[in-house]
């Protein structure tokens, strides 16, 4: 495969065959590498300007590592990441530093991400100072503006992180990420640690900011319902690989991959009547270790439909229908056999 874009139109971000392996090292004095955790294993996708791509999967599937490797917070083992046509994977740290203002990240644990000894003003203003974008009066002004943007009182600049609730701290994290006017923001489980009533506030804020500032999001989460709510397109990951990627409408109305189907059937719906009528596909067992993934299709050990070929051969990730990608031997391009 070449680096041709997966969708028409010019993507803001193109990820091609991205791999991130972490070495497993044994021995303290004489250490040697005995294996690798294939956290991200040959992942390709595009993100169009202004859209939200949801990246969903269970713990350990590599969704967060994918996000960090895209931003070059981890350097990839191999593969390319084109941002506005420039290959981030080939850039040195200096060149990357100049691009960083355009690409920002919002983290799950706002408490760990905010320095407890710094005032909110200092935390939000820090990126501006580091990149020499503002100082003195302009800086204070911009910080106040950012606080207002995320729905906080500008006077909060003098307070410290511990004085805020979880939802407010996440707003501070968002303000900091927006300080340098980025075009692309990776939201890594931004609402997972928050209470339901606060989750909705933060998600609404993220959507408002996207509309207002024309942001492009990679939204990483394990909550399929929330990903459905916020994304234009959705990618489903399992053990370091993308199993399926399609538009929201397409993925949720016609999931083709058996993993996507079982994942959806496992998500509870807040409606007792529906819950009683649902036929669940209950997967057996747990997700295998990414240090020792199964041969062939990584999902075959839990797949209710697995056949001989699934144990032998790794399925190619391919476009099974226009704009609908999947990696499964059992999906027939035309009739979609695995579909139910």
């Amino acid at each position: 495969m070449t680096a041709k874009p997966l969708l028409s139109g010019r993507p803001l971000l193109s990820v091609r065959h991205l791999k991130k392996y972490f070495p497993i090292v044994r021995g303290v004095v004489i250490s040697r590498t005995v294996g690798a955790v294939k956290a991200v294993d040959d992942v390709s996708f595009d993100i169009q300007p202004g859209e939200t791509l949801g990246l969903v999967g269970e713990s350990g599937c590599g969704k967060s590592t994918t996000g960090r490797t895209v931003l070059q917070l981890y350097r990839p083992t191999s593969g390319d990441v084109f941002f506005n046509g420039q290959n981030l994977a080939q850039m040195d740290d200096r060149a990357l530093r100049d691009l960083r203002p355009q690409m920002q990240m919002i983290f799950q644990d706002s408490y760990a991400a905010l320095n407890p000894r710094h005032s909110v003003g200092k935390i939000i203003g820090e990126p501006l100072v580091v990149h020499n974008k503002a100082s003195g009066q302009t800086l204070r002004h911009r910080v106040a503006e950012l606080l207002e943007l995320v729905g906080l009182n500008p006077d909060y600049a003098r307070r410290f992180p511990h004085e805020f609730s979880g939802g407010q701290r996440q707003r501070i994290g968002i303000a900091r990420a927006l300080a340098l006017n980025p075009t692309f923001v990776i939201c890594d489980e931004p609402i997972s640690a928050l209470d339901v009533s606060i989750q909705a506030q933060v998600v609404n804020l993220l959507q408002d900011l996207q509309a207002q500032l024309g942001l492009t999001y990679l939204f990483i989460a394990h909550d399929l319902s929330m990903v459905r709510h916020i994304s234009n397109r959705v990618a489903v990951m399992y053990l370091g690989k993308i199993m399926e990627l399609a538009s929201r409408q397409e993925l949720f109305s016609r999931p083709l991959h058996p993993y996507t189907q079982s994942l959806m059937s496992a998500v509870p719906i807040p409606d007792p009547e529906q819950e009683r009528q649902r036929q669940r596909i209950i997967l057996t067992g747990d997700v295998p270790s990414p240090a020792n993934p199964p041969q062939g299709c990584v999902f075959h050990t839990r797949c209710p439909l697995a056949e001989e070929i699934c144990r032998r051969e790794v399925p190619t990730y391919r476009e099974v229908q226009p704009g609908h990608f999947a990696a499964c031997h059992l999906i027939d391009e035309q009739s979609s056999k695995a579909e139910r």
């Binding site: 909705a200 496992a266 509870p268 009547e273």
Partner: protein
Amino acid sequence: MTIILEVDNLVTRFYTKDGVVHAVNGVSFKLHEGETLAVVGESGSGKSVSMMSLLGLIPEPPGKIESGTALFGSGPAKRDLLKLSRAQLRRVRGKEIGFIFQDPLSSLNPLLTIGRQISEALVEHLGLSERAAREQAIALLEHVGIAGARDRINNYPHQFSGGMRQRVMIAMAIACSPKIIIADEPTTALDVTVQAQITDLMARLQEEMGIAVIWITHDLGVVAGIADRVLVMYGGMITEAANVDNLYKRPQHPYTIGLLGALPRLDTAGNGRLTSIEGNPPDLFSPLNHCPFARRCPYAFTRCWEEIPPDYHIGERQRVACFIEVETGKERP
């Protein structure tokens, strides 16, 4: 149906160096034999503290159960859990009331094999011999779906995955055939596919053994699938109690309505905005002398700031602590 637990006006506070935390402010409810009662609320709502108070699992000090009764059992065996001595409570816990926590790794002893930990309860509460307890432990592990139980019984907790550890916890909880299991966020730390396995297992066991389950959770999706009745808690109070269908179809409390609106659903289009509940969770340091939700409630009026709303009953199966009838926007008679 027989009532096996009747809690009345439970009040629990914590006396910390920063002030008094009003964690539970008068909680009353009944639990029937064999039913699943879900207790839903956000962090700080008092859902865990109220249930842990019943079992004597609140650290005292700083915690203190200020008032209340919790009548457990039926007929002549009925007794008030809150009046039992520590030794008496210990005999109730694990034997008549089992419990399952969110994080099995921190409730299992890492230095003892799984078999040892299960048999311990069987030896202590049921007076089985070591050998009989061991056989019983193997049977229990098989019952909760652990393959190769005879070998796994010699494993330590870290050798199990998260989902398997939760199965071990469930095996321990049902070991002495309790009447009630209190499950505190038992699936919250698990992945969604494993969560489905666990809720399935619990439903099966409950049906087989006729155990009543108090299922504490923040997840209204899970509740819809497992519960018979639901208590919604906010600010240490039960704001609404209803059977599961009524709660989702005709929620009465503005907080319940807000919570349901804030949830994105997998089965709907997902367009438009979520209705968020503005504001922040209540401050538990101040004593409760008005509706805890008043500050965030779109319907709040003067009275909500002046007194704690009493329970209004709507039919036989629903009660709500709110002055306002949301459908009409009028004050309840």
